[in-house]
Symmetry: C2
Subunit: 348 residues, 2 copies
């Protein structure tokens, strides 16, 4: 007999929350009861799960009574307030915000990389940043086989990572520019920041707010989270994060240095062909390589354009693409929930 | 008394040719006679220069009789055929195609970097690839002051680099997608290649054709041309080139390693503030950084997002943006022509 669980989704009406509900359904996650929660503003909306309408309720501490697994994706402040309340009531929280990621008491998990860390949870498990997840999923098999000393990534990120308002802004702005009409940027690069810039037909080298060291918070997330997930403070990691006029699908140009000598492209291919969650798309002479337009709606991480550096025997270049709302958010969260079940961490 | 010259523009009706003519006019280049040349197909068209209509003529060897300076931008095969003919007739050819760039007898010139190389010309001077020019212009002042050992660049390239048909494809495809209509990619990533892919709201990691080593020709151009322009075979250079839904303006995420220790962001700022052709836009806390939408129509190379690598004292990250049709093509070519005049290399 298979156990089934009381699952809550917090932020059920958001872009990622919606994907979480769809992923729970498509994975046939063992759900006895599904509680959908949101802010007071969105409460009362109805969401269909397995053909049944479920009314979204306001997220309050009491709503987590009896919940086994709570998936959070309603912003950092909601997680900070409610995840401890849910954990106190016995729920295992899987949090998609940055609120707890660097907390030493909170495992930060990409199941293909560090599933075992889940066992150390104290009620909260953090889902990493979207751009981090797809990169570490592709690099971990390489690290295991050949060692990894240095990572330099430049990202090509889609606007859906900044939410539904950013998607709408890209579409409206694109139409305005194509029609020769005026427009006023209001959302991107960062909703709460001072200045807003054109995203349509442009490239904006700012994702999230700037830190005192000149890096953006998105760049620092990639740097710090990668080291934490890979359990390697000595791994050198650098990131430049750029927002582009793409609706969904993050791409990454990644340069790595491995420990071993004479690692060939074929060696990397062999490792990635066997790697969980990875699809190798690397036939340059057939023009086969990953692209965001092809990755949308898929759970996998696509890797191609694998090349040896021409001047450095230990240097390797890769191009990594994934759906930022799925592996980058909803799917990785549900995957963690599946691991929680498989590892027997739920009481019944 | 100022001398003035007989100038020819080959490819006068193309995107870059048009910019060359406009740049010659706006720079008030000392022109006694302007001959505009093209393929037989475009011959007969009229182009306005300084308020006067000039009829475009078919490019043949004989058309170069008496020409002092010939600017070529009509494709590699035209340059291969006609530049030697023009040179034979005494013209100094400035070639914007890749036909002669790696020829050891042909100087490859970015005036801010290696103007002196022009003196070694044997009738043909090559204008580097657009993505190479803006990068070396920004890196040369750093190299001169702090030494340079390694360059890793990921590009964010606009479609105008692939010509007028690519611009039209991006616009038509964007409209189709926004209206929910079907479309058939026919131009990008490479007109003469087998497969064509969606460029609107996508990222395509292929510019120019693939070489046997898995790199694209665009990537190899950046690698080989950078070493040639900087006179440094030992400089490590790697490139990943990506085409994006941007009309004009190339951006580059560049990681470099310098020779000196303890070079600060302030040191780099000071060097770039004094550098010819460079505009520093680097105030992260004011959200000031270069973007292609702001660079269009300007001759400068814009540099920002300058950061020390957090794990490697000699590592520095930069974000470099420029108008690929101007500094990347027309302006650099006219700049070379100005250098030819200033260096006294013309007979009269």
């Amino acid at each position: 007999m298979v156990s089934s669980y009381h699952v809550a989704v917090v932020g059920a009406t958001g872009a990622v929350g919606q994907q979480m509900i769809q992923t729970l359904e498509s994975r046939n996650f063992p759900i006895a009861k599904l509680t959908l929660l949101s802010s007071a503003r969105s409460a009362g909306k109805k969401v269909v799960y397995k053909g049944e309408e479920i009314t979204v309720q306001e997220a309050t501490p009491e709503m987590f009574e009896g919940v086994d697994i709570a998936l959070f994706s309603a912003g950092g402040s909601v997680s900070k307030e409610l995840a401890p309340e849910a954990a106190k009531r016995g729920a295992i929280c899987i949090d998609n915000t940055s609120a707890f990621r660097m907390d030493p008491d909170v495992p930060l998990v990409v199941p293909e990389v560090n599933e075992e860390d889940i066992k150390n949870h104290k009620g909260i498990i953090a889902n990493p940043n979207c751009s981090t997840i797809q990169m570490v999923a592709a690099l971990e098999p390489i690290r295991q086989k050949f060692g990894l000393t240095k990572v330099i990534v430049s990202t090509y990120q889609a606007v859906s990572g900044a939410g539904a308002a950013a998607i709408e802004e890209l579409e409206e702005q694109s139409k305005a520019i194509l029609n020769g009409e005026d427009f006023t940027p209001e959302v991107l690069p960062v909703k709460g920041d001072q200045n807003h810039y054109q995203i349509a037909f442009n490239a904006v080298p700012q994702i999230d707010k700037f830190q005192d060291n000149g890096y953006t918070f998105e760049e620092m997330k990639m740097i710090n989270e990668t080291k934490k997930i890979m359990h390697s403070e000595e791994l050198k990691v650098a990131a430049t994060c750029v927002r582009l006029p793409i609706v969904t699908g993050h791409s990454e140009s990644v340069y790595v240095e491995v420990e071993h000598e004479n690692v060939s492209v074929k060696d990397i291919h062999e490792v990635l062909l066997d790697a969980p969650g990875i699809v190798l798309e690397d036939e340059p002479h057939e023009q086969i390589y990953p692209m965001p337009a092809n990755a949308v709606g898929k759970n996998d991480v696509f890797v191609g354009r694998i090349r040896k550096d021409l001047d450095d025997d230990k240097g390797i270049h890769l191009w990594i693409v994934s759906d930022n709302l799925l592996k980058g958010a909803a799917w990785n969260s549900v995957q963690i929930a599946e691991s929680v079940v498989r590892l027997g961490l739920l009481k019944h």
